[in-house]
């Protein structure tokens, strides 16, 4: 274990190095709270890939910022870095690992916690400093099979085309103003992530995929409007369970007052799909999706009105109903049906001819525009 009081710096245009094994810890006399224990690369990098370091790895190292350094590792304008396996990042104030620019850093099999999991300070929003386990401000990076167990925000993505796979955030921060994963840019993919009592926040979802993921203890998907455009938001085959702490119990919510919100409502919703989700929890916990199927029985007048607003994440003004499919059938009598919808009110009315009470009605309404029918 080595104490250091200022950053270890790897300047631009160096590569082919591996840092392995041991512990680096910031001393009490750490020189600059804005600096990281190790800093690789520089923004003063001017080639066409904006990447001036390559093939540098950090393996089997415990980094401890001692709550005086900004974090463990700042990687700037670098292509082809590997962080992990078996790196542990603690005592950071800004981020465990921060990626600025560059491409294709792989963070793998690593742990991040500003405070250890048994340290109650991790539940104190002030003491958490607004920290992030991993802060990615660049494109095309990977974070794989890693854990954030204590930080204000688990992983924050300000760049596009990044992949998070097998990332488990149980930083317990949602109740303290933090979040599990935040994405403020498009084309990010979340595969097999585990939001454990924390939210996945997506700002203006664009070409964003959330698949095969698990949301426990009230972990939700939170959609935040900045420009207010949703274009390509695909949630597939996810499980939501035990939303004990969530008023209303919605798995997908909109938040127009989140830190990244502009104050606008959503303006346009295209190609938003929530499909194959499984929900197990208290009765109030329910899926909200832009495309919803409801059932009803016709009343004495032979009609039924189905209200979709409680089941959809966007208001009728933000995303009015775009399309409706329905079926009607009566036990023992021949009936035909007609349907009418109020797009902004998010309601659909079906009536039978001849007017028949007790007919079964099934209606699917979609408040998302569809750019391509596949």
């Amino acid at each position: 274990m080595y104490l250091i009081s200022s950053s270890i710096v790897i300047p631009p245009n160096y590569g082919n190095a591996q840092f392995i094994h041991g512990t680096l810890r910031a001393s009490a006399s750490w020189s600059d709270p804005s600096r990281f224990l190790v800093e690789l690369g520089s923004s003063d990098c001017h080639n066409s890939q904006a990447s001036c370091n390559m093939n540098v790895a950090f393996t089997g190292i415990l980094f401890d910022g001692s709550h005086v350094a900004a974090g463990s590792l700042l990687v700037t304008a670098t292509m082809g870095t590997v962080v992990g396996p078996m790196t542990y990042h603690t005592g950071f104030v800004v981020a465990g690992v921060q990626l600025d620019g560059g491409h294709e850093t792989m963070i793998t099999q690593s742990w991040f916690c500003e405070y250890f999991w048994g340290d109650k300070r991790k539940e104190n929003a002030t003491l958490l400093h607004g920290s992030s386990g991993v802060l990615i401000d660049g494109n095309d990076h990977f974070m794989l099979d890693s854990i954030v167990a204590g930080a204000a925000n688990g992983v924050v993505l300000h760049g596009a085309a990044n992949l998070l796979q097998g990332v488990h955030t149980w930083n317990d921060a949602t109740a303290h103003g933090g979040r599990g994963i935040v994405s403020t840019a498009g084309q990010n993919r979340f595969i097999g992530v585990y939001l454990d009592f924390t939210d996945l926040t997506v700002v203006d979802p664009t070409s964003t995929v959330v698949a095969d993921s698990f949301f426990l203890g009230g972990g939700r998907i939170e959609l935040v409007p900045k420009t207010g455009t949703v274009h390509g938001f695909d949630v597939r085959d996810c499980e939501f369970q035990d939303a004990y702490n969530i008023p209303g119990g919605a798995i997908i919510i909109t938040n127009r007052t989140a830190p990244w919100a502009s104050g606008k409502a959503f303006q346009s919703v295209t190609d938003a799909t929530v499909d194959g989700t499984t929900v197990q929890s208290v009765p109030a916990f329910q899926p909200l999706a832009p495309k919803v199927t409801l059932t009803a029985v016709t009343d004495a007048t032979g009609s039924a009105t189905l209200a979709f607003a409680p089941h959809m994440p966007f208001t009728g003004q933000e995303a009015p109903i775009q399309s409706v499919q329905f079926s009607v059938a009566s036990n023992g009598a021949w009936v035909t049906g007609e349907a009418q919808f109020d797009a902004a009110a998010l309601t659909v009315t079906v009536r039978t001819t001849p007017a028949t009470a007790g007919a079964a009605v099934t209606v699917t309404a979609d408040q998302s525009k569809r750019s391509v029918n596949l």
Binding site: M1, Y2, L3, I4, S5, S6, I8, V9, I10, P11, P12, N13, Y14, G15, N16, A17, G22, T23, R25, S27, S29, D44, C45, H46, N47, S48, Q49, S51, C52, M54, N55
Partner: protein, 122 residues
């Protein structure tokens, strides 16, 4: 250097794999297997050993304690790490000229201009 050794071993493995699929004695030998056998016949272990030895000298392991760092964590080791990094960077080999990386052993004070556009520029 290790990659060269691995590649040769891999070819050996492939040859063995293909040989396991060979028809038994008396059958014609596939041209591919014949080619692998010719490759392996021309492989000289002494050349590989010299390459590996060169790799060892080009890729040293630097230990902080050798530069005066305190592995017990009681004393500040910043100066030792600065010395280590200076040594590391003076040895560090460049990766690719087209990225503007340094040539092996060059002392860098500023980014070198790229000699050509990267082939996969996006």
């Amino acid at each position: 250097m290790l990659s060269l050794t691995s590649r040769l071993e891999s070819e050996t493995d492939r040859a063995i794999f293909h040989e396991s699929l060979l028809p038994r004695a008396g059958k014609a030998m596939p041209a591919q297997i014949e080619r692998y056998r010719r490759v392996m016949a021309g492989w000289k272990p002494s050349a590989t050993a010299s390459v590996a030895a060169a790799g060892a000298s080009e890729s040293p392991v630097l230990f902080p304690s050798a530069y005066g760092a305190d592995p017990t964590g009681k004393q500040d080791s910043t100066a030792a790490f600065q010395d280590l990094m200076q040594d590391l960077l003076s040895r560090n080999a460049g990766v690719s000229p087209w990225l503007g990386f340094a040539r092996a052993g060059a002392k860098l004070t500023a980014a070198a201009a790229p000699s050509a556009a990267p082939p996969d520029a996006r």
